[in-house]
Structure formats: structure tokens, C-alpha cells
């Protein structure tokens, strides 16, 4: 197992290196050099100004040189300076990273807390009333546009009822826990509704397959109640496909939820990535993309390990 994991981590490091080069090249080759855009925005900028600025920001050097310089810095922990926020990349990332981990982590956990019990209830009587209602709810969660639900929630809870703030990470000048919690409610609620739909569909589908297995019939024949049989025997077997989905979702933890973050003015990594790419902030974009890639790879390795733990039939032979 350990040998297998080491092997997977080595593979992940290689993938990370390749992705870093591809991402850097794609950002570098995108049309609209940051200095060209400045030239266009300001009629007083001369060719000499443009050349001076390109030299200052290192944009006059070949792409490979720039990549190697970035890689050298990154390996030593220096992620460079964010052109967009006039701050070191590390300083720009810290706040949004914590905000996103909190937002995505909470919505992921709550999504599971809602989805798994509902799926268990639904499969007690497939195609019954409860199953239909739960299914309809899941489909609603899956199909709601991610830009529409947050606006609806803001209009209801912030504008009409005035119970919750319309956006932000915390109230201005009040970074207290209470303020943070009230500001988290609507974004977390939005993402929970959206996530729960996905988890619910996967769990329900997996449970329905397992329920039809012989060992479930045996369990019932031994006198086990339906609920107990579902929880003790069906659920552990149904967790494998759900693990895959959750692992993939965990991978998106750092890339954040762009639309939700933008609408709730919640300063997270999704919004930061979007701004960095559009704003030609190569250092910041690279840092976020690399973090997201690393986490996706790590989650996949972790999912492999969890498979082995959940299902004794899964073995890693090196």
C-alpha cells in the first residue's frame, strides 16, 4: 500500500510539473499582453514606455526563460508578486484560501449530511411518494442555475426579510466569528443545495443497486429490519461511487465556486483565479492553478487509499 502511494505521489509530481509548464505557456500565449492593454487604455503611453514596462516586468524575455525563472522561485517558496493586487502572491492568497476552504468544506459536509440520510429514506420504498419528492428535490438542486439561486436567496433573506447580510465575508470592521457565520449562511446554503442534488442522485443510484444484491436478501432473511440492513450493509457498499464524486469535488475545493463567490462578494479562490487570468496576473494565476491541481491529484491518491479501506477486495500490488 505504502509503495503504491509513493508511486502515485511520484506520478502526481510529474503531472504537476507538466501542468505548470502548460498553464504557464497558455497564460503567456494568451492574446493581449498586459502592457499592450495598458498602451491601449492610455493615449499618452509611448512605444518607449511600453518597452520599458515590458523589460521591468520581464515580459521581453522568451517564454521558456520566464517559466524557468518562475519555477526556480516557486521551488524556493517564492511565488512572486501579484500585479493585480500589488502584494506578494502569498499575502494575496491567504485570506481567500481560508475563506474558500471554509465555504466549500462546510457546503460539502452539509451536502453529504443532507443527501445520504435522504437517499437512505428514499430507497426504503423505491418510486414511492417520498422517493419521488426526494428525487424531484435532487433534480431541482442539479438543474438550478448557480447564478439564479443566490440572487433569489439574497432577495428573500437580505432584501425582503432583512435577516441576513447580502454579501461579503464579514461586516466592515467586524471580523468576529458571529459576523463571519451570518455572512456564510447564504453562500453555504446555495452550495449545499447545489451539491446535495449531485450526492443524492449518486447515493440513491448506488443504494438501489446494492439493495438488489443477495447479501441484502440474506440480511433481511436473518430478521434484520430494512433500516438497519440499509445502514449496516447497503450503505458501506454504496459509498464507493460516492467517494469518487466527493474526491472530485474536493479537488475543486481550491478553485472555489466562482459564480457564488462573485454574487455574494465573498472573497475566495474561485474569484481570485478568474480575476488573475482576466487581469493578466500570471504569478497569481499560476499559484492558484498549481494549488488546485495539487489538491486534485492529492484527492485522487487519497480516494485510492480510501477505496482500499472501504472495500477489502481492492488491493494494490505495486
Amino acid at each position: 500500500m505504502i509503495r503504491h502511494l509513493l508511486h502515485r505521489f511520484a506520478e502526481a509530481a510529474l503531472v504537476l510539473l507538466v501542468v505548470s509548464f502548460l498553464a504557464f505557456a497558455l497564460i503567456g500565449l494568451m492574446p493581449g499582453d498586459p502592457i499592450d492593454l495598458l498602451v491601449n487604455a492610455d493615449p499618452n503611453v509611448t512605444t518607449a514606455d511600453a518597452e520599458r514596462l515590458k523589460a521591468l516586468y520581464g515580459l521581453d524575455r522568451p517564454l521558456l526563460d520566464r517559466y524557468l525563472a518562475w519555477l526556480g522561485g516557486a521551488l524556493q517558496g517564492n511565488l512572486g508578486f501579484s500585479r493585480l493586487y500589488a502584494q506578494p502572491v502569498g499575502a494575496v492568497l491567504t485570506g481567500p484560501l481560508l475563506n474558500t476552504v471554509l465555504l466549500m468544506g462546510l457546503s460539502l459536509v452539509l451536502g453529504l449530511v443532507v443527501a445520504v440520510p435522504l437517499a437512505l429514506l428514499a430507497v426504503r420504498r423505491p418510486h414511492g411518494v417520498l422517493d419521488l419528492v426526494v428525487n424531484a428535490g435532487a433534480f431541482a438542486g442539479l438543474s438550478l442555475p448557480s447564478f439564479w439561486l443566490p440572487l433569489l436567496l439574497i432577495l428573500l433573506f437580505a432584501v425582503t426579510l432583512g435577516w441576513l447580510p447580502a454579501g461579503g465575508v464579514h461586516a466592515v470592521g467586524d471580523p468576529s466569528l458571529a459576523s463571519r457565520v451570518t455572512h456564510l449562511v447564504l453562500p453555504v446554503l446555495t452550495l449545499t443545495v447545489l451539491n446535495a442534488g449531485v450526492y443524492l442522485r449518486f447515493t440513491r443510484g448506488a443504494l438501489l443497486e446494492v439493495v438488489a444484491e443477495d447479501f441484502m436478501r440474506t440480511a433481511r432473511a436473518k430478521g434484520l429490519g430494512l433500516g438497519a440492513a440499509l445502514v449496516r450493509h447497503a450503505l458501506p457498499n454504496a459509498l464507493l461511487p460516492l467517494t469518487t464524486v466527493v474526491a472530485l469535488h474536493l479537488g475543486t475545493l481550491l478553485s472555489g465556486a466562482l459564480v457564488v463567490e462573485v454574487i455574494f462578494a465573498y472573497r475566495g479562490l474561485g474569484k481570485l483565479t478568474y480575476d488573475a487570468i482576466l487581469g493578466n496576473d500570471a504569478n497569481l494565476a499560476m499559484a492558484v492553478l498549481m494549488m488546485a491541481t495539487a489538491l486534485t491529484l492529492a484527492c485522487n491518491v487519497l480516494a485510492d487509499a480510501v477505496y482500499g479501506w472501504l472495500d477489502p477486495r481492492v488491493r494494490f500490488d505495486g
Partner: protein, 556 residues
């Protein structure tokens, strides 16, 4: 019982008064953009100007009457008042010496006076090749600075031009704080400046407010600056809260999270119009046409568009007033030329090209374009009257206008092939290296009496020969226009300059190097209890007069 009612009434009254007073201590402004840097001289950004107009003041700027005036200086130097003096150099060049006096009470927020040394430092920094300043023109145009005393200095400008006394972009920097950082490592100064590393440092502001807290990407808190020398502002604090999604920004206003939305960095016009329709009774909504000139830029290398008759026909085919009425409730002012009617040099007596389909068709016939059954005209060589029509993808207003124009051109037999591009692509090589093959729709932002040299002079046609300098993207080359621009540059007599401006506008409207559409309006939304907000329409924003913003007196 009566006593209880009285106590309750007093309590409710006191609570109401407390709430009202508390509400008036802080003004919350919603904006859709966050400044990328707080350094006054690095990077131009509207959101930064909006905030810094409250914390700093330019030496000179434009008033509500669009006239140049002093903000930080005490008097505009002119030849008449002896503040300006012509300099003739041995090499034959002619420059000018202009003397300014800094407001005697101007003091940085830490109590250190604003002095000539701050101007000298700003100049030394700005002209340094590694400063990171985008355009060095404002600094390299200054040949020398003579410090007369702590509050008086003389600039020697390289060239003598009509706007010799406008130093709107020369922002003094707090030398006592910033010079040591700059001198330690000029190349790294832009990353180490206190404006970005410690923006709440009191000594970085001398305006009515100073920054007291910044949450990057989210909000800025401004507090009254105790060293401000002008009228005391009414609000203790101003919070500029950034919500980039404008639908969410609107919801924040309705929920009371913000009191007003900045007109300059707020809702797009069409959204503001819809907002006014629904909630206009609860807020004051004001529309101010400004200097943002929306137009159609034709690539004159395209043989179809090189023909002036075709360009005129294209303009005659568009009902610009109907576009404004139908899409923007008539709030976008139709443009006759590139000079805004609020500008004192505006010439009203130019051809205005109201929609005239028959005349448009006749002009196209005259230019050799005959109608065909498929609706698109062709010339004798069988070529179709067809070209690419591009604008910035995702800009809903422009895309709507584009569809309207495309349909109206189709009515006269013109095929406009829409190809919209993301802004970073559109404003990249596509326009600034003149790669657009047909018509590009976008806007120019200018200033009052802004000489259109970079956009209309033939030397400013970007090409490999001039290192792609200039913004004359149409490729318009007209000796008469060149001569007018060159004459205006050195004409100091306002009356004679106005005459030259009149000729320029008439020539522009006659030759139509670009097709004028509108002057874009900004929608300002503020609460009914707020008074004194006066949008200008030009690049000096309403916050430059923030000290005049006050809660309305009860009963008014």
C-alpha cells in the same frame, strides 16, 4: 398608564434619533470595482481615482463648469498674471516656466506639511526608468523644477503648449515617507510603497478623508482626516464596499448594506434604468452624460470603407436617436462629433446625419453598390457590400446596439458580419495593430478640450515603422486635420483656439473618419436623504467634492 406611554414614546423617539444619527455618521458606497493599487502614480484605474479623490487632491483639475481650476494650488499661473513665462532656448526650442503655490494649510495626515519637496520627489520617481509608472510623459515633459520655498516651486516645461498650466496628473507624493523606500531600491519601489503595503498610514493622505482600513478586494474604510484644510466633511466615515456583480450590488442597495451606488463605477445604464422604474421612489437617480465617446471605427484600408460616401450612407442608415430611446430611455446623448456638447470648444453647427434611408441608398448607388435580390448590394466586380463588425464580447449594451445597427444596415443592403471578441483580445492587436478588417465599435475616454492628436493625426497611425505608436486605428490621414491639430497645440488665444476647434469638428463630421454614436451616461444612485453629490461628466469625479456631501436637513 399615561406615564408608561410617555416613557415608551420618548424611548422610541430617542432610539429613532440615535439610529438616524448613527446612519449619518457613516456613508456606505457600493462600487463594482476594486483598485489594483493605491499608489497615485502607478496604473490608471477609475476605482482608484474614485477613492483617491477623497484622500488626495490634484494640483489642477476641472470644475463642474468644465473649466480648469486650482485644487491644491492657490492660483492658476498664466502669462497674464505673471505666473507663466515663455522660455526661448539657445537650441531654438521654446518652453515655459510656470510657478505654483501649494495651499498654505495643505498637510499630510501625520501633520507634515505638503511641500515643494513632495513635488520634486514625485517628479524624480516618475521619470525614473524603473518606477513602473505607465506613462512618463507628464514627468519627462518637465525639464527642471526650481524650489522657491517650501510652498512655492517653478516647473520648466520642455514645450510650450496651449494647456501649459494644467498639471492634473502631477500628484505630490509624501517624500518624508516614500523617498527612503524608493531610494533603497527604485526597481522594487512599486512593490514596497506604503500606499500598498500599509495603505492606512495617516501620512499618505491630505484630502478630507484618509484610508483607515483595507480588506483587499472587499472594502476600504475612509475616516475624516484631521489635517484637512478645507470644509469639514459631514460624515465621520465613508465605506467603499465592492460588489462586482451588479445584480448583487443592486440587491445590496435594496437591503441597506450600502446607501448609494457610485455612478462612475456602479451599475450599467440599462440596469440603472430598470432599477429606477422599480425603486425610483426610494432613491435619487441621476444620469450624467460624459466624455465617454461611443463610436464606430472604420478601417480605412478596407476599400469599401475607404469611400467617404459609404461611411456617410452607413451613418445615415442608423437611427441613433431611436437606439437611445429604445435601449436607454433616451439617456445616451447622440453624438454629432467627438466633442461633448458640455465642452466649451463644442461646435453645434456640424452635419448631424439624422436617419435618412433614401439618401443612404442614393449614396450607395452613387458609390457603385447596386441592390441584389438576396438583399446585399454588390459592385460591378461582383463584390458584396459586406464587412466584419466587431465589438467587445460580453458588453451587453454594446451588443444590443450592434444588433440594432446590423438590422438597420441590412435594410439598405449592407451586410455586417458580427464577430465579437473578449476585451483583452479586442483591445490587443486586433485594434492597436489595426488587424480589424471592417468596423470596430468601442469608446474613447477624453478630457475637456482634449486634443485628439493620438487618434486623428496621421503620424499616429500604428505601424511597424513607428513601433505601433498611436491610436489612429482607422488609418485616417488628412493634411488639413494634421495642420489643425498642430496649430491648436501652440495656440494660446482661447478665441482663436475655439475657431480651430470649430474647423476640426466640421472636418471630422464631413469626412467621418469614425462614425459618432453616443456620449455614454453614468447613472448615479444615492439615497433621498443625501445632498451635495454633483456628478461632473468628465474625468474629475464627484468624490473630488466629497466634503460637500451632507445629510439633508429634516423637513427639506
Amino acid at each position: 398608564m399615561r406615564f408608561l406611554v410617555l416613557v415608551c414614546s420618548l424611548a422610541v423617539g430617542a432610539l429613532g434619533a440615535a439610529v438616524s444619527a448613527s446612519a449619518q455618521e457613516t456613508l456606505r458606497i457600493g462600487a463594482s470595482q476594486f483598485p489594483s493599487t493605491m499608489h497615485p502614480s502607478i496604473d490608471e484605474m477609475l476605482a482608484k481615482t474614485y477613492v483617491q479623490s477623497m484622500t488626495l487632491r490634484p494640483f489642477t483639475g476641472y470644475g463642474h463648469d468644465w473649466e480648469l481650476r486650482c485644487f491644491l494650488c492657490t492660483e492658476l499661473p498664466t502669462f497674464e498674471n505673471g505666473g507663466a513665462e515663455r522660455v526661448e532656448r539657445p537650441d531654438g526650442s521654446v518652453g515655459v516656466r510656470v510657478t505654483y503655490e501649494i495651499h498654505p494649510d495643505a498637510t499630510w495626515g501625520d501633520g507634515v506639511p505638503v511641500t515643494s519637496d513632495d513635488v520634486v520627489f514625485a517628479w524624480e520617481f516618475g521619470k525614473h526608468p524603473q518606477s513602473g509608472v505607465v506613462s512618463r510623459e507628464v514627468y519627462t515633459d518637465i525639464r527642471d523644477i526650481e524650489v522657491i520655498d517650501a510652498k512655492t516651486f517653478t516647473l520648466e516645461l520642455e514645450d510650450l503648449e496651449y494647456n501649459y498650466n494644467a498639471i492634473n496628473d502631477l500628484q505630490p507624493l509624501p517624500a518624508h515617507l516614500e523617498r527612503p523606500i524608493f531610494e533603497a531600491d527604485p526597481a522594487n519601489y512599486r512593490n514596497a510603497t506604503l500606499f500598498d503595503t500599509a495603505p492606512a498610514t495617516p501620512g499618505l493622505a491630505f484630502g478630507p478623508y484618509r484610508v483607515s482600513e483595507v480588506e483587499i478586494g472587499s472594502y476600504l474604510v475612509l475616516e475624516r482626516n484631521p489635517t484637512w484644510y478645507g470644509v469639514t466633511p459631514a460624515f465621520d466615515r465613508i465605506i467603499v464596499q465592492v460588489v462586482e456583480n451588479t445584480a448583487a450590488l443592486e440587491a445590496n442597495l435594496l437591503s441597506g448594506s450600502v446607501d448609494m451606488i457610485a455612478g462612475e463605477v456602479g451599475l450599467p445604464l440599462e440596469q440603472a434604468l430598470a432599477f429606477e422604474e422599480r425603486h425610483g421612489d426610494r432613491f435619487q437617480v441621476t444620469y450624467e452624460p460624459g466624455l465617454v465617446y461611443e463610436h464606430l471605427e472604420a478601417n480605412l484600408d478596407n476599400p469599401i470603407l475607404a469611400d467617404r460616401r459609404v461611411r456617410e450612407a452607413l451613418l445615415l442608415a442608423i437611427d441613433r436617436q431611436a437606439v437611445s430611446d429604445q435601449l436607454f430611455a433616451g439617456r445616451q446623448q447622440v453624438a454629432a462629433s467627438r466633442v461633448n456638447p458640455l465642452d466649451w470648444v463644442h461646435e453645434p453647427d456640424v452635419p448631424t446625419y439624422e436617419r435618412d434611408v433614401e439618401r443612404a441608398q442614393a449614396l450607395l448607388e452613387e458609390a457603385g453598390w447596386r441592390p441584389r435580390p438576396d438583399g446585399v448590394r454588390v459592385n460591378d466586380a461582383g463584390e458584396r457590400l459586406s464587412f466584419e463588425f466587431a465589438t467587445t464580447a460580453g458588453n451587453r449594451s454594446r451588443e444590443l446596439v450592434q444588433q440594432f445597427i446590423q438590422a438597420q444596415w441590412a435594410e439598405v443592403g449592407v451586410e455586417a458580419l458580427v464577430r465579437n471578441l473578449p476585451p483583452r483580445v479586442f483591445f490587443g492587436d486586433y485594434t492597436n495593430r489595426r488587424q480589424f478588417p471592417g468596423i470596430a465599435m468601442f469608446a474613447w475616454i477624453s478630457a475637456p478640450e482634449h486634443l485628439p492628436k493620438t487618434t486623428l493625426h496621421s503620424s499616429m497611425i500604428p505601424s511597424p515603422n513607428n513601433g505601433w505608436t498611436g491610436q489612429n486605428y482607422t488609418g485616417y490621414a488628412d493634411p488639413e486635420m494634421d495642420a489643425l491639430i498642430e496649430a491648436m497645440e501652440v495656440e494660446f488665444d482661447a478665441e482663436r483656439r475655439a475657431e480651430l476647434w470649430s474647423r476640426l469638428q466640421k472636418l471630422y463630421a464631413r469626412e467621418l473618419p469614425a462614425l459618432p454614436l453616443f456620449f455614454r451616461s453614468n447613472a448615479h444612485i444615492w439615497p433621498t436623504w443625501l445632498e451635495g453629490v454633483r456628478p461632473t461628466g468628465h474625468m474629475d469625479l464627484s468624490t473630488l467634492w466629497v466634503e460637500e456631501w451632507r445629510p439633508a436637513e429634516p423637513g427639506r
